[in-house]
Amino acid sequence: MRRALAACLALLLPACGQQQVPTGPDMEAILAAGPAETLADYGLFTDASAREPAANVIPYELINPLFSDHASKHRLVYVPDGQAASYRGGEQVLDFPVGTVLIKTFAFAPDMRTPDEGERYRETRLLIHKAEGWAAYPYVWNEDETEARYAPAGAWLDLAFTDPSGMPVEIDYRVPNQNQCKTCHQLGDAIAPIGPKARNLSHEGPLGVGQIEDWTARGMLTVAPDSVEAVADMHDASLPLNARARAYLDINCAHCHRAEGSASNSGLWLGWEEQEAVRIGFGKHPTAAGRGSGSGTVVIEPGAPEASIMVYRMDSAEAGVAMPELGRALIDDAGVELVRAWIEDMPSEN
């Protein structure tokens, strides 16, 4: 009976709380059947604006992130106390235990050449490993950045900023709805994380230490090999073009373009491991591209990026043409240039 009373009292605080923030990750909220109303309800941060992670909520960075309209992405992971993710290599993401939360906050500064100056949080997406599988929940920040509220239907945000090349841009930025989260995070009938593969984590993260080693030392990760081969950094011009381009396609396309993904019916599979030329796009005619094919007849025409549907769709921001079809309003010029150079560099078949 006293326990029941205590539980009731505990419930009172977050329900009313304007500034009352739990002192640590709240497993009840994390494992609840549905989403909490606000990000603060999970207790993943010690302040309302989510700048101060709670204990054991660890910031990390991926070697290659997905392009999202130049947003800065602040990633954190919480693995429940006393538990650990199991190492998995290759194309698999780490095997995180139930109760894990992957947190990704999307932020913009007025000038993205200096992304830390005047940065504003816009949305935070959670992937939570519930008992029955992963769930994806979008949260949208208020203007004062004091509260991020659950937004199942997503949102459109009017954003204006200077992009990393110095161009002023104004966009209708799309916070995806909950189903759109699943569209990208689909793995067969389930939902799964995309980014945290060992090879995409195997570098020095925001804490200034090797992330695989650090997570192992913290007890968050078990039985990782002594050294994990890192994926090619797609922006590192010293690396081979092929490796950089394939790394780019892997993180920007392969979550849908794989056998278990949302674009499975295209037969175009762009994962890092894919070896079959036609599945990568060589001699591959469009299946359901419609006007997304432009004037091209194949996905990749070696030596001719201008005739390659892949480049055409990456180089568009128009719904119905643009690929990826979710998650961006802008063209990733650097990505287009990389893939263009990769295709240009291929020996022509004619």
């Binding site: 199942p152 189903n179 001699g283 043409v321």
Partner: protein
């Protein structure tokens, strides 16, 4: 006792905070309606017209309970992003296609107007208009029903229209009935990589292809009006896709006429090769019956039976049509203005083409000729030509056209398609 205490605490919270409570305990507090601002979605119900319609509709689609019905009101509603449904057993119902219109002309994101990824869904009585990509797509959505739905692109047929109107793919048990698709720059009704399919009593017009069954098996296309497309009804199988081996389709009792709209497909797509003015095209498929249809005024041909003509490396793929039967159709005028490669070939046989054409291809990739069993089971008065192309790539100068029908035999009755979710 615990529950009672809990309820008391819950109620006191509500009183203190003015209603921003926890809906999950509302059964205990008995105060559900006041704590949940999105009840219309949670239990289905009607989405009222008004501000934030798209947002409220999408929320309802996410929060719907399995088996519930979401009702759309009459009116034209502007959509800025694609809608998505991922809850099993949901019915989405409008007032009628002429009254309930979801208008996507200002769509800013997503590859389609509505995407369904759950099973046992019914879509009925509404219109999806002017989407930037496909109209309605259902993927991995078994036992889906499209009934009395309209998907349209207004204005003249245009390359800028979306690809597919009604687009079920990778699904088992698909029913598309009583629907109307207009203006798709690929296929109006496209069923891909699916099994057990009925497409009946629809109208498909002013699309590049009216109805297309692709890389699919066990399909019946019956009782449709297919007019003013570039090509009427297509049964295709394509290489390099996860599901191949398209087979067993019955095309019956359709009205297939005036499919003389110019081919406005973007060039890379397979339907861009469809000659304007073709009634039915069977390409690289096994066991297809075309019977009891009414063909009229298709300028290139009423029935074209052809191999896949492009290069491919897929070793599992068979590019030939085989076990095809054409019987008991009625044939109006055709072949008076043949388009595309067929126009070029027509000059070899006097300029006009007969209503039924077979490319005569029986081998590929250096393989031996195979007995493909093309059976033209029509009176001798119905014209036929075997273009005698032998194999691809096509060499017009090597064509040896012949009016002789191949020695085929009946493929027998196509088994009735029984859907597990509909009669």
């Amino acid at each position: 006792m615990r529950k009672l205490l809990f309820a008391a605490a819950s109620v006191s919270v509500l009183a203190a905070c003015g209603g921003a409570g926890d809906g999950s305990d509302s059964d205990a507090s008995g105060n559900q309606s006041s704590v949940n601002g999105t009840t219309s979605g949670a239990s289905g119900g009607t989405i009222e017209a008004g501000d934030d319609f798209a947002l409220r509709l999408q929320t309802a689609l996410i929060e719907a309970q399995p088996g519930s019905t979401i009702t759309l009101p009459a009116g034209t509603f502007a959509m800025t992003d694609g809608l998505t449904l991922d809850v099993d057993g949901v019915t989405l119902r409008g007032a009628s296609p002429s009254e309930t219109i979801l208008d996507f002309k200002n769509q800013m994101g997503s590859g389609e107007g509505l995407l369904v990824t759950s099973d046992d869904v019914t879509l009925t009585n509404f219109t999806v208009r002017d989407t930037k990509g496909d109209g309605i797509k259902s993927k991995g959505a078994d036992r889906i029903t499209y009934s009395n739905v309209k998907v349209e692109w207004l204005g003249e047929p245009s390359e800028d229209n979306g690809a597919y109107g009604i687009y079920p793919v990778e699904s088992t048990d698909v029913l598309v009935e009583g629907s109307h698709v207009r203006g798709a720059s690929d296929a109006g009704i496209y069923v891909g990589q699916s099994d057990n399919i009925i497409v009946r009593d629809n109208i498909a017009e002013f699309n590049v292809a009216g109805i297309e069954i692709e890389n699919s098996s066990n399909a019946v296309v019956n009782g449709n009006v297919v007019r003013n497309n570039a090509g009427g009804i297509l049964v295709f199988d394509l290489p390099d896709l996860p599901v191949m081996g398209g087979n067993t389709t019955l095309i019956r009792n359709n009205l297939i006429e005036d499919n003389n709209t110019r081919n406005f497909a973007p060039p890379g797509n397979i339907v861009a090769s469809v000659p304007s003015g073709t009634g039915v095209i069977i390409m690289a498929n096994e066991k297809v019956m075309v019977r009891d249809n009414s063909f009229a005024n298709n300028q290139t041909a009423h029935v074209l039976i052809t191999a896949y003509s492009q290069d491919f490396s897929d070793e599992d793929y068979n590019p030939l049509p085989r076990n095809i039967e054409v019987r008991n159709n009625t044939y109006g005028e055709s072949g008076y203005n043949p388009q595309g490669d067929l126009g070029e070939l027509a000059s070899l046989i006097g300029g006009n083409l007969p209503p039924i054409i077979w490319d005569g291809v029986t081998s590929w990739g250096g393989n031996d000729e195979t007995d493909v069993n093309i059976f033209i089971n029509e009176p001798e008065s119905v014209g036929f030509v075997n273009l005698g192309l032998g194999s691809y790539p096509m060499d017009v100068s090597a064509a040896s056209p012949s009016m002789d029908r191949p020695a085929g035999e009946s493929i027998g009755a196509i088994p009735t398609v029984k859907l597990s979710h509909a009669e």
